[in-house]
């Protein structure tokens, strides 16, 4: 009897305390973490944007967590294991579908509910046909060129409206490849051992190679992403053509296919005349380096480029999904990322209207952060609208493993130890088994 009373008294006390505690807690703003890839100083600028949100929303405090780009997937995996994922964040494209498969992503299907326009379909991640994440930005692959080098060689700039054919591209690159005596690669006395300026770099960052398969009329996967088709003759030939720029044409510096941003090694270092790369470089690598402009990628058989962009996601481990959603919705509105990311050239907007309405296009790119207006408009804005297709990670799972293995088997192709055909045929079965998740 007595113990019972005591027990109830205790129980009531505990209840009271916890209620009181939760009231106090409710008065406190909810703190959510947003993870972002980039250097600490980039994170500071993202935090500045988040602070604007914090000022408008006193009930939520967003803290930005900066994780380096190369380690992003690793870190998110680490945090997922520890059950300590951030509440929301940008996500590495290659990991989106795997995270979705493990149930680590919260449902974002109502992210654009009631909005007047939806993001481009080509940058929507889909699992079994259903959207699981929307890219926060649009990025396509284009050709950059150093205008000074073209001037010095007396060559006309690549056209922004009419892409070069692959052969024209190689021929131009040869004229721009110079040895220490100033002789170019067409010269019979050209000294390939002492090249001081290279004509071209086609980035062999593994995922970017997909565009050449498409350009050559092939593909890496079938349309619904259930079968690997990288062993098609067109896909194989496209890889060989890229490798031959170094092996046969001698216009490209050697790169072992160690993943990094080729624009930095090429255009930015001032040693290469033309290089392929993503549009983000306009805002990240190129400012303050060399005089440059842009053109569409050269064409093997078909005009095409691939588009991609990290999506903003909400992690299902979060205890504050509603607040996280509120922040992400706010953050993905163009006006909120405009100054830092869009007007600087790092992100391209995701809504169709910026590509179709020239007034909006002007508002976006008619500023000194971008190369010549006509060039960027034709080679990037229009081209993205008309010729861009999704990179395969929007619809195929296990991309990280796929890319890693592909990179490893392509290693001997870049230095000519193996042909692309040998490498791809040798690795095809394993590539298929990765896709199948075996």
């Amino acid at each position: 009897m007595k113990t019972n009373k005591l027990f109830f008294a205790l129980l009531i006390a505990v209840l009271l305390i916890s209620v009181a505690a939760s009231i106090v807690a409710a008065a406190e703003p909810v703190e959510i973490t947003y993870s972002y890839w980039g250097t600490p100083d980039e994170a500071a600028s993202v935090q500045a944007v988040a602070d604007r949100f914090n000022a408008e929303h006193p009930e939520i405090v967003v803290k930005v967590m900066a994780i380096p780009n190369e380690e992003y997937v690793t870190k998110l995996n680490t945090m997922a294991t520890a059950n300590e994922l951030p509440d929301c964040g940008i996500m590495n494209e290659a990991g989106v579908l795997d995270f979705a498969e493990k149930g680590l992503l919260a449902d974002v299907s109502d992210m654009y509910a009631g909005a007047d326009s939806m993001p481009l379909d080509s940058i929507t991640f889909k699992k079994d046909g259903k959207p699981v994440a929307y890219s926060a930005a649009n990025e396509i692959l284009i050709l950059y060129y150093n205008t000074d080098m073209f001037d010095a060689a007396g060559l006309p700039y690549p056209s922004a409206t009419e892409p070069m054919t692959w052969d024209e591209f190689v021929a131009t690159a040869k004229k721009l490849t110079l040895d220490k005596n100033g002789k170019n690669a067409d010269d019979p006395e050209f000294d390939a051992e002492n090249i001081v300026q290279y004509g071209a770099v086609v980035d062999n960052w593994t995922w970017q190679l997909e565009v050449w398969a498409l350009s050559n009329g092939g593909s890496w996967f079938n349309a619904d992403g259930t079968e690997v088709t990288i062993n098609s003759p067109e896909a194989i030939e496209s890889i060989q053509k890229v490798a031959d720029l170094y092996l046969v044409d001698k216009v490209m510096p050697y790169n072992a296919g160690l993943e990094d941003n080729g624009i930095q090694r090429s255009i930015v270092s001032g040693t290469v005349a033309m290089a392929t790369g993503g549009t983000w470089n306009v805002g990240t690598s190129l400012p303050g380096s060399v005089k440059y402009s842009v053109a569409p990628l050269p064409v093997m058989k078909k005009e095409v480029t691939i588009c991609t962009g990290g999506p903003q996601v909400i992690f299902s481990q979060s205890k504050h999904q509603a607040e996280a959603m509120e922040f992400i919705k706010w953050y993905t509105k163009e006006e909120n990322s405009w100054d830092n990311l869009i007007a600087t050239g790092i992100w391209m907007p995701i809504l169709e209207k910026y590509y179709t309405d020239e007034a909006l296009t002007k508002k976006w790119i008619d500023n000194p952060n971008f190369p010549k207006y006509e060039d960027y408009k034709a080679a990037v804005v229009d081209y993205a609208m008309n010729y861009a297709v999704s990179t395969s990670w929007y619809y195929t799972p296990h991309t990280n493993e796929f890319i890693e293995y592909l990179r490893s088997i392509l290693g001997p192709v870049w230095d000519g130890t193996q042909t692309a055909e040998e490498a791809i045929n040798g690795g095809y079965d394993y590539l298929s088994s990765i896709l199948a998740g075996e």
């Binding site: 980039g38 250097t39 600490p40 100083d41 994170a43 967590m65 900066a66 994780i67 380096p68 780009n69 190369e70 380690e71 690793t74 870190k75 680490t78 945090m79 294991t81 520890a82 059950n83 300590e84 220490k180 002492n194 001081v196 990094d260 941003n261 930095q264 090694r265 930015v268 270092s269 001032g270 040693t271 990240t284 690598s285 380096s289």
Partner: protein
């Protein structure tokens, strides 16, 4: 007479040998220093000079301003502070607990000594790499210490590694037992013997253990990458490994960062040089 000439010729022979050795040593040390010089001169160049062929051995204008620019992308002092936050407690913890363990194994009698000691020696042959994953699961999933320095520091408070315990033990066994026996008769406890007699006489070994721990932690990129997530907590090693990607491949700046990271090690070494070499010489002998 003949004997004298033989002696003289031997002296002469030895002299030429020594001169040859000196020349060889000078050449070899130049070769060893060459990479460091090349890295240093690269840190003072413009991109155009870096990507020039043929390259030159000396920078044209000695651009020390590269360092200020590199610091913008590579917050060296912040990284150094973070690194030291890990290193100082770890080295202290490692040295103290290794000394304690070594002392117990070298001097004290207790049940299970043989068994514990063989466990200890056995673990020397067990590479850290093997236990990485379970420890990672323990620290992150078990103790929720991801993105903190604890998983990097706490292990050093647990003996500082079998090798170091072993090293200290070997060193203590060379100290005459009479010393501590005399102290025992004077009524000193075992702990007092450790602090007052053993520790002062094994200073070189302790310094070597501290140096070995310092270098081990300094170089442990893998564990740092695994446990540290965010930029504000980066160590020098992670900072450097990320730097290459984030710094637009500006090689001059990358070389600046490299040179800056060389500095603490060099300073640490110059200060402690005498002790390190002495300690390594002594401990090298004792094993």
């Amino acid at each position: 007479m003949a004997k004298k000439t033989a002696f003289q010729s031997r002296m002469k022979h030895e002299k030429t040998l020594n001169t040859l050795a000196l020349i060889a040593v000078i050449l070899a040390s130049l070769l060893v220093m060459l990479p460091i010089w090349w890295i240093f001169r690269s840190s003072l160049m413009t991109n155009a000079q870096l990507f020039a062929w043929p390259p030159s051995f000396f920078p044209k204008d000695w651009l020390f301003s590269n360092y200020t620019k590199a610091l913008k992308y590579f917050p060296f002092l912040q990284y150094l502070k973070n690194t030291m936050t890990i290193i100082i407690p770890s080295v202290l913890g490692g040295t103290i607990t290794a000394t304690m363990g070594g002392y117990a194994f070298a001097r004290l009698r207790f049940r299970g000594k043989k068994f514990l000691f063989s466990l200890c020696v056995g673990s020397m042959l067990l590479p850290n790499m093997v236990t990485l994953i379970p420890l990672y699961i323990m620290w992150t999933k078990g103790f929720h210490l991801a993105n903190t320095y604890w998983p990097l520091i706490l292990p050093y408070f647990c003996g500082g590694g079998a090798f170091n315990i072993f090293l200290i033990r070997q060193f203590i066994s060379t100290i005459p037992r009479e010393l501590d026996e005399a102290a025992t008769i004077d009524g000193a406890g075992y702990f007092r013997i450790l602090t007052n007699i053993i520790v002062p006489s094994i200073k070189p070994a302790i310094i070597v253990v501290a140096l070995l721990l310092f270098i081990q932690i300094w170089n442990d990129l893998l564990q740092q990458i695994i446990y540290i997530n965010t930029g504000d907590k980066f160590t020098i090693a992670i900072g450097l490994s990320q730097f290459k990607g984030s710094l637009k491949q500006e090689w001059a700046y990358i070389m600046c960062a490299t040179c800056m990271s060389f500095a603490p090690g060099i300073i640490f070494y110059l200060i402690g040089q005498k002790y390190f070499v002495e300690g390594i010489v002594l401990t090298g002998m004792k094993n």
